[in-house]
């Protein structure tokens, strides 16, 4: 019976050792209104039996009364907002203040609508509790034995040991610390970011990788042999370390993208963007030297250039590799600098980026409005503030069911 399962899951949840899969299952179950009604009854039962009643805690009691006394003094029947009295250890105030400062920066938006150029400053206000928050640091690490570790809220320290490496989490990034001994067959791990998350990783050779939202990278836990090879989906920025083998030869680093194309480097900084819903796979070189390979065709890139390969997964036809000189590097790397750069970007593309970062679904009621943007803004903005900015420049929309954005003509 479904209610028994719900009871069991809620028990595990409240007792503090619910597994990740069960937690996901509970989350899914509670999407069903019938299950929500059952959950309400279960919670009510807990209250009725008094099994979780707290013991007397004077500070909590007195803060509660302070809050309510203030409320009663102010009220004459009308609901007046009352300042909260929080219990926060002193140090947490410092953290809270820092976050507040971050989100009260201003966002600048210039939009070119048809022939008019409008410049708008969108001030950012502190959001409501139910607002859609911007994405943040986080990823899922899948180990070779199938175990999945979620990296959002972990503290620093050792995450796991895999063949030949200790996997450490430190200061918001994952590091593969080679232990030197690699036994038997190579073992692969995958790090992936869901919607609304980005993360960074240091590979066993010291190469650094930044993953944008809805992206993944699969890599061995130790690099052996004459090549270093990884594969990615979505978007990643690489800073590949130089590596030489014992006889002095350089060990190339190869990035395999959706089995359609690959990028071969010796030591360099570059970005690969290969989202399935985009028409092309773009490799942009910042410094160093890379070779972009597609089937029999290969192209060398110099810094500032971008190679474009038609994305077969989005229905693109096969074709030659196109090379763009003088790419807008700022725009390509904006995501890593905590910004959206929408310079010369059309509304449809803007919406795609927003949907990945905010984990929202975007639909168009009647075709896509003909609007091109100019300018950049912070990514660390709540969706409602961002949408206020959009409203100001003539984009009309409606939000449905929490996470669905309907763009109106």
């Amino acid at each position: 019976m479904p209610t028994e399962e719900l009871q069991k899951l809620l028990d595990e949840y409240v007792m503090g050792n619910i597994s990740a899969t069960h937690r996901q299952r509970l989350r899914d179950l509670l999407q069903d209104p019938a299950m929500v009604a059952q959950a309400e009854l279960i919670l009510q039962q807990d209250l009725e039996t008094g099994r979780f009643d707290a013991e007397y805690l004077a500070p909590v009691h007195s803060r509660l009364h302070q809050h309510l006394d203030a409320l009663m003094k102010n009220s004459s029947g009308a609901a007046t907002p009352v300042g909260r009295i929080y219990f926060l250890p002193k140090r947490m105030w410092a953290a809270a203040a820092a976050v507040f400062l971050l989100i009260t920066g201003a966002a600048y938006f210039w939009v070119q609508h048809g022939e008019k150029k409008t410049s708008i400053v969108a001030p950012i206000s502190v959001s409501l509790a139910h607002d859609i928050l911007p994405g943040k640091q986080g990823a899922i690490l899948k180990l070779s034995d199938g175990r999945q570790v979620v990296l959002d809220s972990m503290g620093n320290g050792l995450i796991a040991k895999q063949n030949g490496a200790r996997i450490m989490l430190k200061g918001g990034q994952v590091m593969y610390d080679p232990t030197g001994k690699i036994a038997g067959t190579t073992v692969y791990n995958t790090m992936s970011t869901p919607r609304g998350r980005q993360f960074q990783l240091i590979l066993p050779d010291g190469s650094r990788v930044w993953l944008n939202a809805t992206s993944s990278i699969t890599y061995p836990t130790g690099f052996t042999g004459t090549r270093r090879e990884v594969s990615i989906t979505g978007e990643a920025y690489f800073e590949v370390a130089h590596l030489s083998s014992k006889d002095g030869a350089r060990v190339p680093f190869i990035v395999n993208i959706n089995n359609q194309t690959s990028v071969e480097v010796l030591g360099t900084h570059f970005d690969v963007s290969s989202y399935k819903d985009e028409g092309t796979i773009n490799t942009t070189l910042l410094e160093g030297l890379v070779k972009v390979i597609k089937g029999p065709e290969a192209v060398m890139l110099s810094p500032g250039q971008q190679a474009q390969v038609n994305n077969m997964l989005s229905g693109g036809a096969a074709g030659k590799i196109k090379v763009l000189k003088n790419t807008d590097i700022d725009k390509v790397m904006a995501w890593r600098n905590g910004l959206f750069n929408f310079d010369g970007v059309r509304l449809e593309e803007v919406m795609k980026q927003l949907s990945r970062w905010y984990d929202i679904e975007v639909v168009y009621e009647k075709g896509v409005p003909n609007i091109e943007f100019v300018g950049k803004m912070s990514k660390n903005v709540n969706l409602s503030d961002l949408l206020n900015g959009l409203k100001g420049i003539g984009v009309h929309f409606r939000i449905e069911n929490g996470r669905r954005l309907v763009v109106l003509p």
């Binding site: 007792m15 099994r51 909590v60 803060r63 009220s75 972990m154």
Partner: protein
């Protein structure tokens, strides 16, 4: 109460706040959130006190408001992040300063556990230190599942209040050890 009697309201708060707080803390697992929700519940009741005359059972009314707030908080929390499945506790490779924090936190947790009433201490120790399943604990001690649940939750609630009082370590809230206990 319907006439806006502040004195009666205060008495109701005194009679029921521990029920509401304990319940919200059990399900939200955060001291700040639990206090906030408790304040919200009683604020809600005060603001809508005109409705009280048409309410047959105050406790029922209170419970409905409480469970609705809590369920909303649970769903929000489930939407956020997923807990970590498995974390090896290998002290040896941690940085020395983190090791010290870890040891101090662990000591606080053990002290807290020692302050639990005897049966609660046994149940909690069997679960978290000895790693026994709830079925095993029920069998071993001859307790019902609900009783075991009550002991575990009350122990967790107690430790959530106890540890910050005795341990200055802010980062420890994110510490692996704590997530094993409080996920």
């Amino acid at each position: 109460m319907a006439q806006g009697d502040q004195g009666s309201f205060r008495l109701l708060v005194d009679a029921y706040w521990q029920k509401v707080y304990g319940h919200t803390l059990a399900y939200t697992k955060s001291l700040a959130t639990a206090e906030e929700l408790t304040q919200d519940v009683f604020t809600n009741i005060w603001i809508n006190r005109a409705k009280m005359s048409s309410v047959e059972s105050f406790t029922n009314y209170l419970f409905i408001i409480t469970r609705n707030h809590v369920l909303k908080a649970i769903r929000n929390k489930l939407e956020e992040t997923v807990t970590v499945e498995e974390l090896p506790l290998e002290e040896a490779i941690w940085q020395p300063d983190r090791q010290l924090e870890y040891r101090e936190l662990y000591a606080s947790v053990l002290e807290g556990i020692a302050e639990l009433p005897p049966m609660r201490r046994r149940v909690f120790t069997m679960s978290r230190i000895e790693g026994m399943s709830y079925e095993q604990i029920c069998k071993e001690l001859g307790l019902s599942r609900n009783t075991v649940k009550e002991h575990i939750v009350k122990a967790l609630n107690f430790l959530r209040n106890y540890i910050p009082l005795h341990n200055d370590c802010l980062l420890c809230i994110n510490c692996i050890m704590v997530t094993v206990f409080f996920s």
